[in-house]
């Protein structure tokens, strides 16, 4: 069963605007969440993470928000740049083991 869900397969935004990528999870044992970015023909690259004891983590243009009660997290990119165009994967790790679970990914296209 898919414990990490990214329900939007694609998202298109204009350069300079905000990109919001969403992720839902079902396993209440997840206590650490990550976002990865993937370009074609490359492996995923770690972008940003958040622990379940926090509800927000910011790193430059990237901010991840966590809503534990809703089992939902989101990645905000502002301002979006054409170089941000990639597939973004949400991932989660449970507290009782180290098995990282990924969502199916959202393809972000930032138009100039």
């Amino acid at each position: 069963d898919q414990q990490v869900k990214q329900n939007s397969p694609s998202l298109s935004v204009q350069e300079g605007r905000i990109s919001i990528l969403n992720c839902d999870y079902t396993n209440s044992m997840f206590d650490y969440f990550l976002w990865y970015k993937k370009y074609p023909a490359e492996g995923p690259t770690f972008l940003i993470s958040i622990s379940s004891i926090k509800d927000k983590n910011e790193d430059g243009r990237f901010t991840v928000f966590l809503n534990k009660s809703a089992k939902h997290l989101s990645l905000h990119i502002v301002p979006s740049q054409p170089g941000d165009s990639a597939v973004y994967f949400c991932a989660a790790i449970p507290g009782n083991n180290n098995d990282m679970r990924f969502g199916a990914g959202t393809r972000l296209t930032v138009k100039p």
């Binding site: 990550l34 492996g43 990282m100 990924f102 969502g103 990914g105």
Partner: protein, 114 residues
Amino acid sequence: EAGVTQFPSHSVIEKGQTVTLRCDPISGHDNLYWYRRVMGKEIKFLLHFVKESKQDESGMPNNRFLAERTGGTYSTLKVQPAELEDSGVYFCASSQQAGRGGYTFGSGTRLTVV
């Protein structure tokens, strides 16, 4: 510092044949993971090595898949015999610490079984 290297980058084999994928992790990374992405779906965990020991192989699909990491350096993932549903991109990742923090992924091996 060299990244995680995977070989080959692409492999096309016939159903019933054997294929061996190789992963060279970042030097000094004790933790090595194998993942697989099938048909644009989620990236699924296969197994986790700590040095040469299998820490968790709960994601291995069946006994046609065999992973080894002799000497705790590079790892191989053998599929024998390959089936059509084994097609996908196989990613290897390594990390110094297990779990928390970002893993470094290789570029993946795209396996096509025909």
